[in-house]
Subunit: 429 residues, 2 copies
């Protein structure tokens, strides 16, 4: 009966493991293999004169990254990983790997990102890379559990759509039978429609698609978005929810991923709360102290500004009270000062993680704002209709899952946080 | 402080609720509203002579499906829903609905599926329809919890791909910058690649896209698939896993959705285990007893055959030992009888829910099978490469989430199980 490598301790008598041959060292009379499964590494030691002949034969034939089944006695030994080694009575090659490998899994030779993604199946075998995707899975689990425990309903909205969320730019067109369709940029309109449907608290974790032309270390053309929408809530309510969710995810990863964090060399601390809230006006004032190109009220914050403010604040924070002119049409303007809106961004010191707002729920005001953005209300008919028959006040946000993982684990490139990135030039594997 | 309508009991003294006006009856001196939120219904009774003037004014103005806030005293009363009524001291119209409604939420007038989907936001307000999507969310929660508790890792694979899973048919083409790409039909190749990556147990819940021309009550062009893949497992292991998962979902829905099941009039029973396993040969023998068009060995089972077998078996069951010729190239043939493969379908009496198999993990055999299907190994290079460097034996399946919900709740049309269906003729809302 196979056991996980992490469960083989110096006290184990006998163990059967299955894994990949991570390293091979042959010292003549002694051969050492390091065998790896997703839980850890173990040294397999073969004293050639004493070992069964079949074991010695298999050991001769096996190559790095082959899958092997090993069964034998366990001995405590200080110098080996985990303080134990396995001396095989059986050694079976389950799947022989060809040589040479297109990528070095033992990481003695480091590789460029492109080479790594080309052989992603080998790249993910590296304990450091495997750790990232284990942590991502734990984060997704934590998100699900947090939102279900708060009474949210999980929804699925279509990815093939007839209309753009925010006008006609940055869309991938699809030939949908005889019609033209698009890949959805965001579930924004659909999650708002679920507020009109009386669902009150909904979330979705799913793909979003943006035909952005530029290739950067923090953009993907296909990304994963966590989208949340809540009825009878305002921007302050959903900012609190977002802060609570970030804390829940960090806490869960800290608790469940100690080994993986150690493998990555990440000393994860749960962010301090409450996250500071600064206004957009304060944000540009802070940025203008250091950035060379000064920002005026009404400008977007660029990368340099985000960096300057992030360095100044030094932790997760919110930017609130944005100019209505630079936020999407569905953000609710303050009634007493409609130049500003109840919109926010949630920032990690390195970059924006989430955008949200209390939404406009009044049909006529929404039409006015769509027009003010130079868009045509006719293209939003299916959406606008839902505001005429009892749309409740509501608020929500979208959070980039890859950016959450990238910033949590201090990864240099967002491509590190997704198994098979899609960018300007990459469609495979 | 607002409370959920289901939490207002005959013993409550005072309550504030927010919800939609489900029905209005005016008896002259008395007005009755039924107010609805996602948790239930309550009668609001307004004695016009005694009620505050502002309440009477608002009651005059309000229309069906408007959002209202009501605060007042609760009285036990036998004839009202839940045995209580609310007598308002405050009645505020939060969001006034236009009249007439494009769809009758109180369901006194039944509507065609197309009319319902056109106004899906109103359709989902119907307690019967809302119940379906609440149950779907609970099912998704149960799937997540079950698989995480079994040590699975959640993965996300790309939906924009360069190559087809099973040849070039039924694909939606995308213009991806200057390249041609496709919407993925299935995560099949990607989840198998994660086996080569050493992830051992993975799952994904995500959209799949099939450009099937025919419009039926059990096909969608965009559907949700639960995909599972397990290393060092065979077809029997993953059939057991699938059976356990179905039981876990049914059990959870039975426990958590008693009210919603009652609303739907569904008397849900957890299926008996083990699910019967019949061979493909037995399946056609059973079908041929009743179907007019006889099936020969090597034919696909059609709708009529599935129906005949389903009636005979009368519960969830597996069909195993399929002819290799009619299963995909990645299904593992039995070594002692390669005409048959270690593939299975999991059936509800009404239809197929899931297909799976032990997969071929040997590179050369896989190439041979791809050729045998008339496909070109060159188009699968990114996939085949992962079989050369230590691919473990593995098995898995895909389960249609909408079909699971449709059969569990005895829904006549798969469009009942998805918020915004995409079919041959429908791209909106």
């Amino acid at each position: 009966m196979r056991i996980a490598i992490q469960d083989v301790t110096p006290e184990t008598d006998y163990a059967e493991i299955i894994g990949w041959v991570h390293e091979i060292r042959d010292l003549g009379g002694l051969a050492f293999f390091i065998v790896r499964d997703r839980t850890g590494l173990i040294q397999v030691t073969i004293p050639k004169k004493k070992a069964p002949e079949a074991v010695v034969e298999a050991a001769k034939e096996v190559s790095r990254e082959s899958v092997v089944r090993v069964a034998g006695t366990v001995k405590a030994i200080e110098k080996a990983p985990g303080g134990r080694e396995l001396v095989p009575e059986e050694l079976e090659i389950v799947s022989l790997a060809a040589s040479p490998l297109p990528l070095d899994v033992a990481e003695k030779v480091s590789a460029e990102m492109d080479t790594r993604i080309d052989s992603r199946f080998l790249d993910v075998r590296k304990p450091r890379v495997g750790a990232i995707f284990f942590i991502r899975s734990v984060a997704v689990r934590a998100i699900n559990e947090f939102l279900f425990s708060r009474g949210f309903i999980n929804i699925t909205t279509p990815k093939v759509v007839a209309a753009a969320t925010e006008g006609g730019t940055e869309l991938f067109p699809i030939a949908y039978f005889e019609k033209e369709a698009f890949l959805n940029q965001s579930p924004q309109l659909y999650k708002q429609m679920m507020m009109a449907a009386g669902c009150e608290k909904v979330f979705e974790i799913g793909p979003i698609f943006r035909a952005e032309e530029h290739n950067t270390v923090r953009h993907l053309n296909e990304a994963t978005s966590l989208d949340v929408e809540v009825s009878f809530a305002d921007h302050n309510d959903v900012m609190q929810l977002l802060e609570d969710l970030i804390i829940a995810v960090y806490r869960r990863v800290t608790e469940d991923c100690a080994d993986q964090l150690a493998t990555l060399g990440v000393d994860l601390t749960v962010p301090a709360t409450p996250f500071p809230r600064i206004s957009y006006a304060e944000a540009i004032e802070i940025a203008n102290r250091t950035v060379p190109e000064k920002i005026s009220f009404g400008d977007d914050l660029g990368t340099a500004a985000e960096k300057a403010i992030g360095e100044y604040i030094g932790q997760h924070y919110f930017i609130v009270d944005w100019p209505t002119a630079i936020k999407p049409y569905y953000a609710m303007p303050y009634p007493e000062n409609p130049e500003l809106s109840k919109a926010f961004d949630m920032m990690h010191p390195r970059m924006e993680l989430s955008s949200g707002a209390q939404r406009i729920h009044q049909h006529d005001l929404l039409v006015e704002q769509i027009r003010a953005k130079g868009l045509s209300p006719e293209s939003f008919e299916f959406y606008l209709k839902t505001f005429e028959y009892g749309m409740p006040p509501h608020a929500g946000w979208g959070l980039g899952v890859e950016r959450l993982i990238m910033t949590m684990l201090n990864l240099p490139n967002i491509r590190e946080a997704v198994l098979f990135p899609r960018d300007r030039h990459r469609l495979t594997p």
